[in-house]
Symmetry: C2
Subunit: 179 residues, 2 copies
């Protein structure tokens, strides 16, 4: 099972691709950070992110996509951009007909470290170990995206397969706007 | 000049298409509301909105797209969905190579009523009058989307043309992810 994990952000969006099966150490396929400048036009930033994620999905042909769920306890201005980036991330999967699953930050932390309140350093350290890497992935956005992919592989299964069927059906449908 | 206005929302997304020139009453081309159910999977909701807006852009071939800018003073849970919907709305324009402009609610209200603090009923009433309609457009999401399109026509011009050039250049560029 190959999973593309996305840690959404407008300025830095982390992407991690991992192959594996539940309960076994995974294999790193690649990781990326898609950048855009905060002072750039929002339409151009979203378009760049959309094209970049679309290209990475086409290149890696994952079986599913895992996206971090956005919460609102952060800085309000940042959260709006993160919510917009998360929509682009989710669409990158669903437009390609792939099942998309969202996970909260604590679900991801718990999956890779055993604790939902683990710090960034601990997550990075476990990702490095679980994927058998010589050095920690940098920057941290990439490590978080890899942790998401690992989380999805370990927890994936029934939920993902049910949703895959629904997405495939929705993609196939002609789906005109309901007026 | 034909403008497609979008009042973003996940549950109800208003779309209004108006043709006109600055300072003259515009002509209504059509209006729509794209629905999705709050209990549906987020990936399916975003996909439905994406497909619907893409189809409306293809059908109406607007010269530009105007999207309401999302603010965070509202209910926090709603705002996340609205921010996600706004990203889909902006992409519907920029993916089609169209210039996209965002306007705050008060800019839209000021453009159609003369007051940035006008109520919904006043906006609907002015939209009905400015477009020469026999009855007010319903629901209110559609009236807001039409107000956005009118606002853009009246204020459009230089800014939109500059951005059109930038979007066209970005769409033409190969634009691989910056790794």
């Amino acid at each position: 099972m190959r999973v593309l994990g996305i840690d959404p952000g407008l300025t830095r969006c982390g992407v991690g691709v991992v192959e594996g099966v539940p309960g076994r150490p995974g294999k790193l396929i690649g990781y990326y950070v898609v950048h855009s400048e905060p002072d750039e036009d929002i339409a151009l930033r979203l378009l760049h992110l959309d094209k970049s994620l679309g290209e990475l999905v086409a290149e890696h042909q994952p079986d599913s996509v895992a996206v971090e769920r956005v919460f609102s306890q952060h800085n309000v201005r940042t959260v709006m951009g993160t919510a917009q980036a998360s929509a682009v991330a989710i669409l990158a999967g669903s437009r390609a007909g792939l099942p998309v699953q969202t996970y909260t930050p604590s679900e991801v932390k718990a999956a890779v470290t055993g604790s939902g309140t683990a710090g960034k350093a601990q997550v990075t350290s476990m990702v490095t170990r679980l994927l058998g890497l010589d050095a920690p992935p940098r920057p941290a956005d990439a490590a978080d995206a890899l942790a998401l992919a690992i989380c999805h592989i370990w927890r994936g299964g029934t939920r993902a397969r049910i949703q895959a069927a629904a997405v495939a059906a929705a993609s196939a449908r002609r789906g005109g706007p309901r007026r």
